[in-house]
């Protein structure tokens, strides 16, 4: 799946790749209204990663339904719409509107964007907030509801449990890690927003640990992401417990990554004689390792 905020609305990539071959296109986060986002600079590169503070620039849900969704349907994309609210009522209203739209396959609840002051992460950083927003949205939609969890908490598994208790159909994690970078010559922050979210290969080991913890905490599927740059990285998430994976930053580097990921995963399944990718999910081997006699 193409991760939210890393793939525009999907249509931007339709010239380059066949969107119907993706597990899903997760839309850029949508509010009810259009948003301008933060002034540049909005991204800065860091070792094996990047910080972003885009500020959820977006066209709003109504223009998305009118201008993007018909094209996405025509292209055969599976559409997960990422929704953001400043208030609980905004999430509910967005869920209602999108439930009536043709071509929406699931909702991902953005309760984890680190870059905006209002809403969003204030739900995602409180167990009650997470429970309340998921249960409120579940009441008004039949679409699968997938809260996207923030890693900026002490015990992410407890948030996965709160989401599951509230009726979430799956959870996705991780959103970006709150971070910052400073230009030492000017002593100014490198992002206009001062702080931003860290993504890319640098965060992968932490994301793997969090997916592993959540998989042990909940029964609903866990969708894993965080720094996946090749098939091996994706397999690592799956073995840790991810039923599906999303790719974000690596798509910036290589917009043709998708077929390479699929080929690599298929090759792995063949090599290990595994019939279905589902058979691999959460199969991390925690038994104590036998000592191998290696003749020299």
């Amino acid at each position: 799946m193409a991760a939210s905020g890393c793939f525009g609305y999907g249509v931007e990539y339709a010239d380059a790749i066949d969107l119907s071959t993706l597990g899903a296109v997760v839309s850029k986060g949508l509010f009810l209204a259009e948003r301008e986002g933060h002034p540049p600079e909005r991204i800065v590169e860091t070792p094996a990663g990047m910080l972003n503070a885009i500020g959820l620039q977006g066209i709003g849900v109504h223009r998305y339904i009118k201008e993007k969704l018909p094209e996405l349907r025509r292209l055969g994309a599976t559409n997960v719409v990422n929704i953001c609210g400043s208030t609980l009522d905004e999430y509910v209203e967005l869920a209602r509107i999108l439930s009536d739209a043709e071509g929406v396959d699931a909702l991902e609840l953005n309760i984890s964007c680190p870059n905006i002051k209002e809403g969003g992460i204030t739900f995602g950083c409180s167990l009650h907030g997470t429970f309340d927003v998921v249960s409120a949205v579940k009441k008004v939609t039949r679409l699968p509801v997938i809260p996207k969890l923030t890693p900026n908490v002490t015990d992410v598994a407890s948030f996965a449990r709160a989401a599951e208790d509230a009726g979430a159909d799956a959870v996705s994690l991780v959103n970006t890690f709150l971070a910052m970078a400073i230009d030492v010559d000017t002593r100014r922050p490198k992002l206009s927003n001062i702080v931003g979210g860290l993504s890319g290969p640098a965060i992968r080991p932490i994301a793997i640990r969090m997916v592993y913890e959540c998989r042990r905490a909940v029964k609903v599927p866990v969708i894993g992401m965080g720094g996946i740059a090749n098939a091996t990285d994706a397999l690592e998430f799956i073995i840790a417990g991810a039923a599906a994976v999303q790719v974000g930053t690596a798509n910036f580097v290589d917009p043709f990554i998708w077929s390479k990921l699929l080929d690599g995963i298929r090759e792995y399944l063949d090599r290990h004689a595994i019939a279905r990718i589902g058979d691999l999910v959460g199969t991390i081997d925690l038994t104590s390792r036998e000592k191998q006699w290696i003749s020299s």
Partner: protein
């Protein structure tokens, strides 16, 4: 449609201690690139640097009628430009493109004036060829810090392009920024004849050129360079404020809405 080419370095010519022209075997891109379009480049396969960097395509190289390669004009500033400076024949540079909106190329009787600042010369070789192909009279106003940083003058001269040079240290041409000769030439220009002004260089220069052009009632097209993450419209990092028809302004992604904009449309910071 953009393609990703693992392009072999055919040649790497150092023009100075920090400028170089690197020749890449990417005929798939070179044969379809429009003037002012760009490529996203990544030398090396590792995660540092992680992201690609945008470069205007400088020249399209042909042997006979066959397009063989493209070149990039680069100035060593950061990690990627240092790697491009140090690259040797046979190295592989990942090259994604062509990307972005090209210049709108004017026809005679309009004249074309290309205003370049430093490494902002990059998009003007392909634009010059497109203008020449249409028979449009073309001038290059080219400014740099010093005469040692003015490159490819013969390349443009040989193609019949009028050169107007300026340097900040006064070693060649007018002393000062490129807007000094631009202002003078515009005052001398024939009011009855249309002149399209194309500009590429540092953003303060683009702002100044767009304002000078507007003051003289001339249209301008500027090629902006913003920090860019993907080049495809995915990340929303490279936005620039642009006026809309309703008198408001909004952030437009310079990778797909640009990098070429009408100078009059940009809201300068």
């Amino acid at each position: 449609m953009p393609v990703d080419v693992e392009a072999r370095v055919i040649r790497n010519t150092r023009l100075s201690s920090d400028y170089n022209v690197i020749t890449l075997a990417a005929p798939e891109i070179a044969s379809s690139v429009g003037p002012g379009q760009f490529v996203m480049v990544k030398p090396g396969r590792g995660h540092d640097p992680l992201l690609r960097r945008p470069f205007s395509v400088f020249e399209v190289l042909r042997t006979g009628g066959t397009v063989e390669a493209l070149t990039l004009l680069s100035k060593r500033i950061g990690v990627t430009t240092s790697m491009l400076f140090d690259a040797v024949e046979g190295d592989i540079v990942s090259c994604l493109g062509p990307l972005g909106r090209a210049f709108d190329v004017v026809d005679p009787p309009a004249d074309a004036w290309m205003v370049a600042g430093g490494v902002g010369l990059a998009p003007f070789a392909t634009l010059a060829e497109a203008l020449i192909a249409r028979g449009t009279r073309t001038t290059l106003l080219y400014g740099a810090r010093s005469g040692k940083e003015l490159f490819y003058l013969d390349w443009f001269r040989d193609r019949g392009i009028r050169l107007v040079l300026s340097t900040e240290d006064g070693t060649v041409g007018d002393r000062g920024r490129v807007t000094v000769p631009l202002e003078r030439e515009l005052q001398l220009s024939d009011r009855g004849n249309e002149i399209m002004i194309y500009a590429c260089g540092p953003e303060p220069m683009l702002e100044a050129v767009a304002q000078v052009a507007a003051r003289h009632g001339r249209r301008s097209q500027v090629s902006v360079e913003r920090v860019m993450g993907c080049g495809m419209g995915g990340c929303y990092s490279c936005v620039i404020p642009v006026r809309d028809a309703r008198g408001g302004q909004h952030y437009v992604r310079s990778c797909i809405g640009g990098p070429v904009f009408a100078g009059a449309d940009i809201v300068w910071d």
